[in-house]
C-alpha cells in the first residue's frame, strides 16, 4: 500500500511521525523510533523564556555573588566557557546528533517570546541542520487590553520575519482559540508558512484546595481530543492548499485514518508513543495500510481529505448544522 505523503514540501513514505516530545532527549528512543519507521522526527520546542529565565537566574543568583567578599571572589566554580552554555547549545547539539543518526527529516520546534528570540533561534535551528521548523505559538492572552486582532497580527508578523530569515519550510503550531481560524491560517500561509499543526495542547494547572495553590499538571492526550482537530483539519484543508499536520488525540489506526480523511498530511504522535513505546509507530503504520488494503483503497492519497469540508457528504456537520442537530437529538432523548 502506497502511504506516501508530502508534508511541508518534504516527501515522506507515510504520514506518521514522532511529534514534539521528550522522546528526542533520549537517543535510544530516537533510534527505536527510526527503527519503527517514523516518517520524521519533530523536536520538542526550544523555549526562549525558559532559556532567558535560566540565564537571568544564573546572573542574579550566581554571577551577582561574585566579587562581593574579600574572602571569596565567587561561590561556584567557573566551568570552561566554551562548554558551559546556558543558551540553546544543548538543544542545537541534540538536534545535530539526531540528524547525524537518522535518515528521516528532523523538524525543529521553537517557542519564542520576543522578536529577537524568534529570529535568532530560528536561524540557529536552521544552521543546526533542521529540515523544517515548527513555530510553536504557545501564547495565552491574559491582558484585556490586547485585542484579538493584535494577537493574530503579531503571529503573522512573526512568521513573516522568520520567513525572511530562514530558508527551510515553516509550519505554525496553533491553538484552537482564535476567533477566525481560517482567516488566520490564510494570513499565516501568505506570510510564508508552508503548513499548520493542529493543535497545541495547553497544559492546564489544577487547583490545590488545601494549599490554595495552583499545581502544574501534565496529562497525556486521549482519542477524545481528536474530534476538535478533525473539524478544523476538515475546514482548513478544504479551503486552501496548505500542509496540515494533526497533533493530539491520535492513538489508533482509525484515529490516524480519520485525521488523514479530514485532510492531514502528517500525523504527529506523542502520547501514544509515550504510553506504548516508539515501536507502536510500526504497528500503526501496518494497521493503517491493512485497513486501506482491506477497504480497497489504492493509496493513502485517495483517502486524504476525502472527509474534509469540500468532499464530505454533508459539510453542515462541520458548521452549525452539526451543533443544532446534536442539541436537538439530545433534547429528544
Amino acid at each position: 500500500m502506497d502511504l506516501s505523503t508530502r508534508y511541508l514540501g518534504l516527501s515522506l513514505p507515510h504520514p506518521l511521525m514522532v511529534g514534539a516530545s521528550p522522546i528526542v532527549d533520549d537517543l535510544d528512543l530516537v533510534r527505536r523510533a527510526e527503527d519503527a519507521g517514523t516518517a520524521a522526527i519533530v523536536m520538542h520546542s526550544l523555549f526562549e523564556e525558559q532559556l532567558t529565565d535560566e540565564q537571568l537566574h544564573h546572573h542574579h543568583h550566581v554571577d551577582a555573588h561574585g566579587l562581593t567578599h574579600a574572602e571569596a571572589h565567587s561561590f561556584l566554580p567557573e566551568p570552561p566557557k566554551l562548554q558551559y552554555a546556558l543558551g540553546p547549545d544543548e538543544y542545537l547539539a541534540q538536534l545535530n546528533r539526531i540528524k547525524e543518526r537518522v535518515s528521516c527529516p528532523v523538524i525543529g520546534s521553537l517557542n519564542g517570546a520576543t522578536d529577537h528570540g524568534w529570529l535568532g533561534y530560528a536561524k540557529l535551528i536552521e544552521q543546526a541542520g533542521a529540515d523544517a521548523l515548527e513555530l510553536n505559538i504557545y501564547y495565552l492572552p491574559t491582558d484585556p487590553a490586547i485585542e484579538s486582532a493584535e494577537v493574530e497580527r503579531h503571529a503573522v508578523d512573526m512568521v513573516k520575519m522568520v520567513r525572511e530569515a530562514v530558508r527551510i519550510p515553516l509550519a505554525v503550531k496553533l491553538s484552537p482559540f482564535y476567533s477566525s481560524l481560517p482567516h488566520l491560517a490564510h494570513q499565516l500561509v501568505s506570510a510564508g508558512a508552508q503548513g499548520l499543526v493542529l493543535f497545541n495542547r495547553f497544559y492546564e494547572p489544577d487547583i490545590d484546595v488545601e494549599e490554595l495553590e495552583l499545581s502544574p499538571r501534565l496529562e497525556l492526550s486521549t482519542s477524545a481530543e481528536l474530534n476538535l482537530r478533525l473539524r478544523w483539519l476538515a475546514i482548513l484543508s478544504g479551503s486552501k492548499d496548505i500542509s496540515l499536520a494533526v497533533t493530539g488525540g491520535v492513538h489508533s489506526p482509525l484515529d490516524a485514518l480519520k485525521a488523514i480523511m479530514a485532510g492531514a498530511d502528517g500525523v504527529q504522535l506523542v502520547s501514544a508513543l509515550l504510553k506504548r513505546g516508539p515501536e507502536y509507530l510500526s504497528t500503526l503504520r501496518q494497521e493503517l495500510a491493512d485497513w486501506l488494503d482491506q477497504h480497497e483503497y489504492t493509496s493513502l492519497s485517495q483517502a486524504r481529505g476525502s472527509m474534509n469540508i469540500k468532499h464530505c457528504p454533508d459539510p453542515t456537520h462541520y458548521g452549525r448544522g452539526n451543533y443544532l442537530r446534536i442539541l436537538q437529538s439530545w433534547r429528544g432523548r
Binding site: 540565564q55 566579587l67 567578599h69
Partner: protein, 1199 residues
Amino acid sequence: MADDARVVTIDGNEAAASVAFRASEVIAIYPITPASPMGELSDEWATHGRTNVWGTVPSIVEMQSEGGAAGAVHGALQAGALTTTFTASQGLLLMLPNLFKIAGELNAFCMHVAARTVATHALSIFGDHSDVMACRTAGFAMLASASPQQAHDMACIAHAATLAARVPFMHFFDGFRTSHELSPVHPIDDATLRDMLDPGHIDAHRARALSPDHPVVRGTAQNPDTFFQAREACNPFYAACPEIVETHMRRFADRTGRSYNLFDYYGDPEAEDVIVAMGSATETLRETVTHLAARGERVGGLAVRLYRPFSCRHFVAALPASVKRMAVLDRTKEPGALGEPLYLDVLAALAEQWEGAAPRLSAGRYGLSGKELTPRMLAAVFDDLASGAPKRHFTVGIRDDVTHLDLAPSSARSDLEVLPEDTFQALFYGLGADGTVGANKNTIKIVAEHTDFVPQGYFVYDSRKSGAVTVSHLRFAHRSLGAPYLIEAADLVACHQFDLLDRMDVVERVKPGGTLLLNAPFPADEVFGHLSAEVQRHIIDKALTVHTVDAHAVAMGAGLRGRINTVMQVCFFAVSELLPVERAIEHIKHALESTYGKKGSEVVRRNMLAVDRAVAGLAQVQVPSTPGAGARKRPPAVTEGAPARVQRVTSMMLAGHGDRLPVSAFPPDGTWPTATSQWEKRNIALELPVWDPDICIQCNKCTLLCPHAAIRAKAYPDSALAGAPQGFLSTAFRSTDLPGMRYSLQVAPEDCTGCQLCVEVCPAKDKANPRHKALDMHPQRPRRQAERERYGFFLSLPETGREAVREDVKHTQLLQPLFEYSGACAGCGETPYIKLLTQLFGDRLLIANATGCSSIYGGNLPTTPYAVNREGRGPAWSNSLFEDNAEFGLGMKLAVDALRARAQGLAAHLSDRLDRGLIDALLIEGQGDNGHMEAQRQRVADLKRALRELASKGDQEAHRLSLLADYLTDKSIWLVGGDGWAYDIGFGGLDHVLASGQNVNILVLDTEVYSNTGGQQSKATPLGAAAKFAAAGKAVPKKDLGLIAMAYDHVYVAQVAMGARDKQTLTAFIEAERHPGPSLIIAYSHCIAHGYDLMHGARQQKLAVESGIWPLYRFDPARVDRGEPPLHLDGGTPRRHVRDYMQHEARFRMVERLDPKRFEALQSAAQAHARRRTEHYRQLAELRVAPQEATANERPKET
C-alpha cells in the same frame, strides 16, 4: 629577550600561580584566604586542560587541611614529582612540621604564600609577615615579592633556584595588597620558564625519588650520638644558596630584561639615612626615596628579596658606605623579643660584616593586618632618623597613646606626593551585589589594553556578607606605579549607592576641584536637595563638579534589577574621559560578550541595552553657591542611646575611621562587649514584610526562619499596649497556655535584609485572595520611619519568661533571640539555627565557634550580634581556630566543670556558716527545665547575698565562693561550625570529643561546601554537585557524619532541616541539650553557594527531605533504656525523585549543562544512594537493643 611582549592585567595570586602551575606536576592545596585563588585557578586551569611547560596537566588535589596538603606535598616530593602548594597564615603554620621535614631532606620544592596575619587577640584575613616569620626557622629559603609582576618573576626564580640549590623555597608576597592587586604584568612564556628550569636538576630530583627499583630509606629516627652532626651536614647547601639565587636572577634578567638582586638599593648613592624593608612596602619605599632623593634629601631604601638564607655579604655590599642611620621596618610583631626578625638579622649582619663604625639602627613595626604604609609615613621615619635622637623602637601608621612608640607624620610633609603629577585616581563606593568591583576590574582591563595608561586596581570589602560595602581604588598613570596603598584623595569619586553618602566619608575623599559621580534615585535638579547639609557643604567648598544618573532606573528598564555596574561603568568613562566614551562603550560591549557569552545571551542583550541608555541618563548637577536652607543633617553612625564605648569606638569603625582610633581605644586581650549590632542601622532592604494580623495564624514560622532576627513575635498583657505608636498592630494571642494575652509580629525595618524567607514560609493566605498572605513584601523606604517607631515600642514590650513557654515552635519563638542583626547573607540558612539556640539556651550558653562564615558574621568587628537579655545574660562566644574547635569547646566544658566543682566544694565547706537548706538545695536540686533553672538562679542570688554579708566581715572563702557562685547554675556548651570544620579539618578533634563522652553539644551548619572561602568542596558536598575542586560534579556521596557518630552508641545524633520540619529541629535541640553525653546536630543550611534565590530555602529543604537526599532523624541513646530503637526517622518515606530537588540549584544544573550524560549518571547514582541510605536507616530504626545489655550505668554520665 625571550619574554612575552604582551601585557596581561592580573593580580598577584594569578601571577604567582601561573608560574607555579606550569612548573609543577603535583599541586596539593587547602583553601585559605587570601591564598585560595591560587589553588582555585590551578584547578580551573587543569579542568580546562591547560598543561605545565612539559605538556602534562598537573594533578591537583584538595586536602582536608593544610597539614594534609603539606603531607601530600612531602610525599609527592619524596616520590619525585615537581610539586607546589599555596597557603597563608594559620594554614602555613599547620604545615610547619612538614616544612622542617621537607627542608631537612633537602627537597627541591617551591611553595607560594600570600602572607597573612596569624590570629592572636583576633583573627585577621589581611596581610602581614607574621605567618612567614613564624616559619623562618624551618630551613626554607624565603624569597619576597613586592608587586604582582614580582610575584610572577620571583615565582620563576624560586622554582628554578630550588632545583639547583636543593633548599626548598617559600616564595611570599603580601596578602591582599599584592595577592589581590590588579596590575599589568609581563607574562613569562612557556619557553622561558622551561629554559629556566634546568633539566639536569630535574633529573637529579627524580633520581633522589623513593623507588623500589633503587631502594633507600629516608625519615629515620636518630639518637643523640648522630643527629647533631647529621643536621650540620646540610650547611654547604645553605651557604651556596644565595649565590645560586643570584645566578638565577641574572639568568632571569638575561631572558626577560627584568633585573633583581638579593637586596635592591634605591635612592641617593650617598645616602645617610636608609630604610630597610621587605614585601610590598619596598615599592612605596622605592617611589618615596626616589622622589625625596630627587629633591636633594640624602635618603635611600633597601629592599630585601632573599630573606633566608640571609647573606650578610650581599646585604652590606648593597648599602652605600655613606649610610649613618638605618631604620629596619618589620611587618610583624614578636612580643617580648629584642626586636622583630628582620631588624635582628640586620643588626647581626652589620655586626658581622660592616667595616668600621656601623650605622645606628632603629627598629620599626608597620602594616600589621594590612595597615597602610604611605610615603608620608616613610617620610616620618626619615624625619625621625634625621632628628638627632631617633627612636630605637617605633611603630608607624598608627597612633600609640599607650606606649608612645608611634612616629607621627610631620605636618611639614603634609603635601608630600610621590606619584607622577598626571596620575588619575578614582574611588568607587558600591555594594557587593551591585557589581561595582567587577565593572572596575573590567575598566582596568579596557584601559590597559586600549590606552597608554598603566592602571592599578585594589578593592576593599567590608566584612559583612549582606549589604557589603566595596570601595574600589583605581589609579591610571603613564608609567608603572609603586603605590601599594589606598587612595586618600581622588580626582574622581563615584558613589554607586546614594545611601552610602550618609554612612561613610565619600565626598570627603574628592580632591578640591574634582568630580563626583552619583547614582541617585532623583532627577538631576533634585539631587542636591536630597544631600545632607554636610555633603552639600563639601561639594560647594571644594568646587566639585557633580554628575548624576539614576542607574537603578536605567538597569531596571533594561531588565537588570539591581545590577547597575555597566551603567555606572559607562558613566565613569563619560565623565573621566580616559578614552572617548564611544570607544569605551565598544570595549564594554566586547567584554560583556566575552564574560557572559554562551551562558547568557539574554544577559548580554540586556546589559547592552543598559550600556546604550546610560549616557542619555547622565546629567550634570547644578551646584548652588550655598547649601540649601532646609538641608537635613547627616545621620550619626550609631543610633541614639548607644553605650559610650559604642559611641566612641564602634561608631568610628562604622564610619570608616577605624584607622584613626588610638591604641588606648582597644582592649589589650581582644575582649569586646556583645550586643552591639543593635546600634547600627544598615537599611539594606529594598522591601520588607508587612503583617496582616487578620490572616495570620500565629505559627511563628516566619520568626523562626528569619536569618537576622528582624521579624519577631511577642505575647504580652493588654496593659502593655499603653503608649503604643500609631499603627502598631496587635491582636489576641491564640494560645491556651497564655490566655488573655495580646500578640504582635513586628519587623525591624532597618535590620531586615529583604530576603523574603519569612514571606515564602508563611502558610497563612487570605481565603478570598490567596495571593495576599499574612506577610507580604512592600517597599521599605516609605515605611521606614513609622516601622522604626513601632519596632522601638515592640522592643519595650515585656519578654515572655522561659518557664512559661511550652516547647513547641509557636511558643519558643516568643523567647528573645540573643543573636540579632548579624552580617550574614540575606537569606542565610545557618543563622536561624544559631538564633534558635540562643532563644532556647542563650542565657546559659557558651559557644566555641570554628572559623568560617559563622565566626565572621558571629564575631567580625565592627559590631557583635550575640546579645544579652534584660538580666544582662547572654551567649559568651569565642573563636579559636578552624581545626581545633571541638577541642576548644571541650576545654570550655572541662573548665566549667572544674569551676563548678570548686564552687560546690566551697559551698559544702561553708554550709555551716550559711543556710544549710539553701546549700543542700543548691547542690542537689536538678536544673533540667527552665522552671528549675530559674529556681536555682534564685537560690544562687540568695547565696550571693548571704556571701556578701560574710565577705564583708572578712570571710575570704565566702568572697571566693561569691565569685564562683554562678557556676552552680548549669551552663550549656555548644561547639558550632561548618561542614569544612566538622567533616574535614576538625574531624579528628570532633571525633575525639564525641568519644570522650563529655556533655557538650555540637552544631554542624552544613552548607556542603566551604562557604566562607568561596565554595570549595568538602566531604559534605553531595554527589552530583559542582563545587570548586569538583567542577564536573562530585562523583562520590557525602560522608555520613551522623552514622559515624551513631557508631559510638553514647552520642545523641540528629539530622535536621528547619525549613522542612521545624518541630523536629526544635525537638532535636532540646533533646541534645538534655542528653547527658555528647550530642551532634547536623543542620541543613542553604547557602548562596548553592546557586538559587535563597527566599526558596525552605522549599529546597522540604524537597531535600522528601527526595531522601537529606533524611531527618534523631538517634537518642536514652531510648535504649525504654526498650525502643535508638534511631527514630522523622522525615517519612521519600516520595520524590532527587531530580525534583536538584533541578532548582545551579550547583547541580551547572553539571547538567556541562555534560548532560555525566549528570544523568550522577543523578541516578544520587537517587540510588538516597534509596540505599533510606533503606539502611530504616533497618537501623528497627534495631532494638535489649535494655539489660546497655543499662544506664554503663553509659558515661556527666561528672
